[in-house]
Structure formats: structure tokens, C-alpha cells
């Protein structure tokens, strides 16, 4: 027999430390005392996020959420809610805090996430077109083809306030208009699925989970600008996304949702895939177009913009995957609905790949204007192992580091650029006290230097020079003058580079110097790395009073740098030590020290 009600008690670590187990016992006891053991199941769950408000209790099937529940409250929840069916209002989540979300449709919900782009991800079977259709799929295409003129479609997208989600945030409607007003003739619609930032996987997940939404959006865009051919430029490193897209294109073609005279209208549109080899620079639109044309993927100066002169010299619109995934919803629900979500200048939602030192890493979608604190501590469940938050990097290697003082800044395009970062495509990497800022900056520079196409000197030479300075800082071979030189080079790179890659490559350097100068100076002047990441700045030694001579460190040392008799204190030969830290890890008596 199924139970009538379920009491879910969150069992995440943050709640555990906060009386979670005592609460579980109290609830089970209260259920038993009230004779409900056959009607109510008390279940311990995984982490629900929301840890700042823990412990959390959720009652199913009513979906009631109680926060900050204490063991003493168990009796009341059981007697009032489970027995009498009356909500214990004093324990409900304070609705005042979720006002922004309530504004959407007047529906009350406590979650910080709001899924437009990811509406079907994790819901439908991506290999079944019928499931997409059942969830209002291809309804927007219907509306566009049979109820709207191309001009109306562009107006609707413009009015929604949708801006490009690939990074720069250019208004999508305007981009479409530029291409639409070009003289009729061959035009192209391109989807940029060349996602390359380290730690970013928003587009991959969208394509894998909901490929038809992209096909539908591209067809609508093609109709709006007067294109009959679309290309999806996707990296070959995404085999599953490619397989699901190919299957989706096949199904849509069979249904007549792609191809000649779509749904019996006089509009025809075809989509082909173009596989990239995984070069970061090919995410830049002019380099991407060169790659589709079969040329080496290198950027070229703009203007002319692709909307005027793109693929094979024809007007071409290039939109990112996430941007496109919004389009069907904007048409079915209307631009007004969409424009109510977000901030004054940034409408809708943003998908982030939340990674790094975070408890609940994941693919999340929040309304624009959500703060970093809400993302990290409510949705993400806080920093792993209860450590201190140090910085968050948005925008991947082209973005900047956001220090703790901006945790409460609402995230939108303008605010992020004000604090020296960018929205970027949506990688969000969280760093804690164990991460070394110069070391992380070096990692990003290493990536962009590796990915620079080498066409223009500021990016090719500047990036390499910056990387050398950063390596020297981490090795303890730098002087204070190096910082001025780094600032000069960074400036020159952002002003003189040919494309977005070079223009933004120095962002991690500039923002980290702006907010974490003390950490750079510590490395340069005191030759110290507080996070213990820069090997050359570390010295390992053994505390002779604590060492019992167990020989564990000597046995694990790969450089044979530790000597000593059994049961006698051991010594590290710092000349031989390669600073791998294995002795530090293996010592059970805390006798190995690192400074």
C-alpha cells in the first residue's frame, strides 16, 4: 500500500551539522505517537540546496516547504499538518524574500531557478520528436509561419529584450533586422555551438536534452531574415549532442518541419551540421564562418559584420545555442511575458554551469538579476567543506574574477562589466581559500595563449609575455615592476587585438590585479603563497618533537629527500625536495609542516 503523505527531511551536510538527525528522529517519533506509521513515510533526502535556511522539511504530495525546522517543531507539524491538514504558517518560507519570482505570472514558488532555456532538459526524451511536440514544441513555428509576417517575428523578438547569450550581449532582434533588411537573395542562419570555455557545458546539455528547440528556433530565424539554409557549427568533441541533433534533423524532416514547404506553407528551410575541430577561436563569429567555408579558423576585422557580409559573402545571422533556445518560448508566451523576467536592461534568464569548490555543482538557470550569493549559497548549497569563498570567475578565460564584496550584486550584463567581468557564455567557477589567485590566472592565460590563432601581434605576443610574468610570480622570480608591465600589456591587448579572444584574454589578469593585489604582492615581496599552491614558494620541514620515526614519509618520498633512522626524528633535505607534498599528506602525527 502506498502512503498517503510523505515527510521529506533534508539530509545535506549543512543541515546535518544543524540538527538534521535529531529532527528526523523527532518527526519519526511524532508520526508513530500519532498512529500514522501506515499513512506517512518519513524520508531522509539528499541536499535540497537552500542550506542557509536548513534544516528543510517538505511535505508531499502537497509540496509544502518548511524552513529552519527544529526538533521541537516536529510535534506541531505532525499534529497540525499531517493530522488536521492545516499548514503551519510560521515555518513556511518567507514569501517576501521571493518577491521577484512571485512577480512572474503571480505564481508563488520558492525556487531561485526559473527554467526557460532548460524547460525540456531532463523532462523529455530528446530522441522522440513527439514528446517535444507534446510540450508545445513547434507551436512557435506554427504561429510564425501562419499568423506572423517575418517583420512581426523580428518585432516580437526585439520587444522581448532578448540579448545574445554567447557573451557580448548584442540585442538579438537588432541582429536579425540587420540581416533582414539586406536585399533578398541567398542568406544564412548559423547556430554557434562551439562551446569552448573550460568548465562550461550549457550548450552541450541543451543540445543533448532538447535538440528540437534549436531546430525550431533556427527555422523561425530563417523565416524572419529570409534565409533558406542553416548551419549548426558544433565541435566534434560533443559526439552525443551531434548524434541527437542528427536524429532530430531526420525526424523533423520526416514530419515536414524542415525541408520544402514546411507544414504546407511556402517557406522552405534546411539545416546542416558542420563539425569543428575544437579550436577556441572558432567560437568567434568571423573565425567560425571561415571554418564553415573550409578555411583555417581565423578571425577577420569587422565591419563588414556577418549580418551584412557573412558566409560566402552573403548576409548571415549567428546566434548562440542558449539565445536560440529562448526564441520558441518568446513567440508562444509573448514578448511581454518574457520581458517581465530579469532586470531593466537584461531580460529573461541565464544558464550557468556552476562548478569549482561548490557543494551542488550543476547546470542552473536563474532570472537575470539574481545575485551571486543566491547562486552560490542557495542554489549551489555553499562552498565545499565549509571553507571561505574567495572569488568566482564568470565568462571563463575571457571573464574576470569577482571578489566577495560583490556577492550581492545583481547579475546582469551591465553590472558584470562594471565590476570588471563579463557575462560570457555561462561558465561560473567558484574558488575558495585554497585557490591561489596568481596560479588560477596563470591557468586561464595558459589556455588563451594555447588557443590564440597567432594572426595579430597583441594577442600572440602579449599573451605569451603575460603568461611568462605570471609563471615568474608563481615561481618567486619576480619584482614589483612586473605588475606595471603586466598592466601595460593587458591594456594594449584589450585595445589592439583583432578579435574577442585577444581583447578579453587579459581580463583575468586585470580583474585579479584589481581585487587581489595583496596576494600578488605576497608572492612577489614575501615569496609566500597563502593557499599553498605555488610549489616553489613552499618549504617542507619536519618537527623533530612530533616525529616518532614511523618512516611513512621517507617511504613515500619520490625524491629520496627524507632521511632518518627508525623511531628517530626524520629530516628533509630541502635541496633534494621536489615539493610534491606527499610527506605532508601521509604524516599521521602532523609532524610535517609546510610554510
Amino acid at each position: 500500500m502506498a502512503y498517503k503523505q510523505y515527510v521529506l527531511v533534508c539530509g545535506g551536510t549543512a543541515c546535518e551539522s544543524d540538527k538534521g538527525p535529531a529532527l528526523l528522529t523527532a518527526l519519526k517519533k511524532a508520526v508513530a505517537q500519532n498512529g500514522l506509521v501506515n499513512d506517512v513515510q518519513v524520508v531522509r533526502t539528499g541536499c535540497f540546496g537552500f542550506c542557509a535556511k536548513g534544516p528543510i522539511v517538505k511535505i508531499l504530495p502537497q509540496n509544502t516547504l518548511y524552513v529552519e525546522v527544529k526538533p521541537e517543531d516536529a510535534e506541531e507539524i505532525v499534529k497540525e499538518h499531517l493530522v488536521k491538514g492545516q499548514v503551519v504558517s510560521r515555518l513556511l518560507y518567507d514569501k517576501a524574500q521571493s518577491k521577484r519570482n512571485v512577480a512572474i505570472d503571480g505564481i508563488d514558488f520558492y525556487q531561485k531557478q526559473f527554467r526557460i532555456v532548460l524547460r525540456n532538459c531532463g523532462v523529455i526524451d530528446p530522441d522522440k520528436i513527439d514528446e517535444y511536440i507534446a510540450r508545445d514544441g513547434y507551436k512557435a513555428l506554427e504561429k510564425a509561419l501562419f499568423e506572423m509576417k517575418p517583420r512581426d517575428v523580428i518585432d516580437e523578438v526585439s520587444k522581448s529584450g532578448l540579448r545574445g547569450r554567447g557573451g557580448a550581449g548584442f540585442p538579438t532582434g537588432k541582429k536579425w533586422e540587420f540581416a533582414a533588411v539586406q536585399p533578398a537573395g541567398q542568406k544564412y542562419m548559423v547556430c554557434n555551438a562551439d562551446e569552448g570555455d573550460p568548465g562550461a557545458y550549457m550548450d552541450r546539455s541543451t543540445l543533448e536534452g532538447d535538440p528540437h528547440s534549436i531546430l525550431e528556433a533556427m527555422t523561425i530565424a530563417g523565416y524572419a531574415i529570409g534565409a533558406d539554409t542553416g548551419f549548426i557549427y558544433i565541435r566534434a568533441e560533443y559526439p552525443l549532442a551531434i548524434q541527437r541533433l542528427e536524429n532530430a534533423i531526420k525526424q523533423a524532416t520526416e514530419y515536414g518541419l524542415l525541408g520544402k514547404n514546411i507544414l504546407g506553407s511556402d517557406f522552405s528551410f534546411n539545416i546542416e551540421l558542420r563539425l569543428g575541430a575544437g579550436a577556441f577561436v572558432c567560437g568567434e563569429e568571423t573565425a567560425l564562418l571561415a571554418s564553415i567555408e573550409g578555411k583555417r579558423g581565423m578571425p577577420s576585422p569587422r565591419p563588414p559584420f556577418p549580418a551584412v557580409k557573412g558566409l560566402w559573402g552573403r548576409p548571415t545571422v549567428i546566434n548562440n545555442v542558449e539565445t536560440l533556445a529562448n526564441i520558441p518560448v518568446i513567440l508562444t508566451k509573448g514578448s511581454l511575458w518574457f520581458s517581465k523576467i530579469g532586470t531593466a536592461t537584461s531580460k529573461g534568464t541565464k544558464v550557468f554551469a556552476l562548478t569549482g569548490k561548490i557543494n551542488n555543482s550543476g547546470l542552473i538557470e536563474v532570472p537575470m538579476g539574481t545575485t551571486l550569493r543566491e547562486i552560490i549559497f542557495d542554489v549551489g548549497g555553499g562552498i565545499r567543506d565549509g571553507k571561505a569563498f574567495k572569488a568566482a570567475q564568470t565568462g571563463g578565460p575571457s571573464g574576470g574574477m569577482i571578489p566577495p564584496q560583490f556577492l550581492d550584486t545583481p547579475i546582469d550584463y551591465e553590472n558584470l562589466s562594471k565590476i570588471g567581468s563579463i557575462m560570457g557564455s555561462g561558465g561560473l567557477i567558484v574558488m575558495d581559500e585554497d585557490d591561489c589567485i596568481p596560479d588560477v590566472t596563470k591557468f586561464y592565460l595558459d589556455f588563451t595563449v594555447d588557443e590564440s590563432c597567432g594572426k595579430c601581434a597583441p594577442c600572440r605576443i602579449g599573451g605569451r609575455k603575460l603568461l611568462n610574468y605570471l609563471a615568474n610570480i608563481c615561481n618567486g622570480d619576480s619584482t614589483e615592476k612586473d605588475i606595471d608591465k603586466m598592466l601595460d600589456i593587458s591594456n594594449a591587448m584589450s585595445r589592439a587585438s583583432l578579435c574577442g579572444l585577444g581583447q578579453t584574454a587579459s581580463n583575468p589578469v586585470q580583474s585579479s590585479l584589481r581585487y587581489f593585489m595583496d596576494e600578488y604582492k605576497e608572492h612577489i615581496i614575501d615569496k609566500k603563497c597563502r593557499a599553498g599552491k605555488c610549489k616553489n614558494l613552499l618549504v617542507y620541514s619536519i618537527d623533530t618533537e612530533k616525529c616518532l620515526g614511523c618512516t611513512a614519509c621517507a617511504r613515500v618520498c619520490p625524491a629520496s629527500a627524507i632521511a632518518g633512522e627508525r623511531r628517530q626524528p626524520h629530516v628533509i633535505d630541502s635541496a633534494k625536495c621536489i615539493k610534491c607534498g606527499q610527506c605532508f599528506e601521509v604524516c599521521k602525527f602532523n609532524a610535517v609542516t609546510r610554510s
Binding site: R44, T45, G46, F48, R115, C121, P126, I133, K333, G362
Partner: protein, 133 residues
């Protein structure tokens, strides 16, 4: 499949909505949906999927539909599995290895108990079914 006209598409949608709309307490047959994006598969979703179908065969339950979906977004809890069973609230389970997959069949489907330690919250409301125009 012949090419659809506007009318055909609308008819197809209405039909499929009727079938898909049956979830939670109103559905007759249970559904087990496994998150199978690259992320889920890398975390072992294929083993989970197989364990679930094997366990269903072992207990002789035939009216459960097992299907795949994309990423549910809870990377920290992969593989993730949603279970929609008659007379029970729909639930998303996280960290479902093969062993837990078997447990889902034996406990959730057969005994109608929720399983401890694996339930995740639904990340967000559904804009397709829960919000108006």
C-alpha cells in the same frame, strides 16, 4: 511518416499531450526516467538504466516504462532518475548507481516506499505546464 500539415501537427500535439499528461497519481503505469546526457552517462547512467530494466524483469513487473532524458542539471548527484508511480508523488533521485537503481524497483515501484538519502528537489517550476500565457 508522411509530411505533416498544420492540422496534422495540432492533432498530433493534442493526442500526445493526453498521453504525456498522465503523471503522478493520475497515471496507471509507472515511469522511470534516467538522465542520460554526457554527464549522466559518464557517471554511470547506462549501468543504472540496465540495472533498472534487469530488476524489473527479475520481479516480473511489466507495466513500467523506462526511458531516457537529457541532463536534469544536478551534476553533483549524477546519475539522476525521476520516478513517476501511481498514487505517489513524482520524485527525482540522485546518485543512483546500479544498486540504488535496483532498490528503486524493489522499494519504490513494488513496495511503494520512498528511498532514504537519494531524493533531490525539483530544480524549478515547469513553465510549459505550470504558467499561463
Amino acid at each position: 511518416m508522411a509530411k505533416l500539415t498544420l492540422e496534422d501537427l495540432r492533432k498530433l500535439r493534442a493526442e500526445k499531450q493526453k498521453v504525456m499528461g498522465k503523471s503522478g497519481s493520475s497515471c496507471k503505469n509507472a515511469q522511470i526516467i534516467v538522465g542520460m546526457g554526457t554527464c549522466g552517462i559518464a557517471a554511470g547512467a547506462k549501468d543504472t538504466f540496465n540495472a533498472i530494466t534487469d530488476a524489473l524483469a527479475a520481479v516480473g513487473v511489466t507495466n513500467v516504462q523506462v526511458s531516457q532524458t537529457g541532463c536534469m542539471g544536478s551534476c553533483y548527484a549524477e546519475p539522476t532518475v525521476e520516478v513517476i508511480a501511481p498514487d505517489m508523488p513524482p520524485v527525482i533521485y540522485g546518485k543512483v548507481d546500479a544498486e540504488t537503481g535496483k532498490l528503486i524497483v524493489e522499494e519504490h515501484i513494488v513496495n511503494k516506499h520512498l528511498i532514504d538519502n537519494h531524493i533531490c528537489d525539483k530544480p524549478s517550476m515547469d513553465i510549459v505546464s505550470e504558467t499561463g500565457k
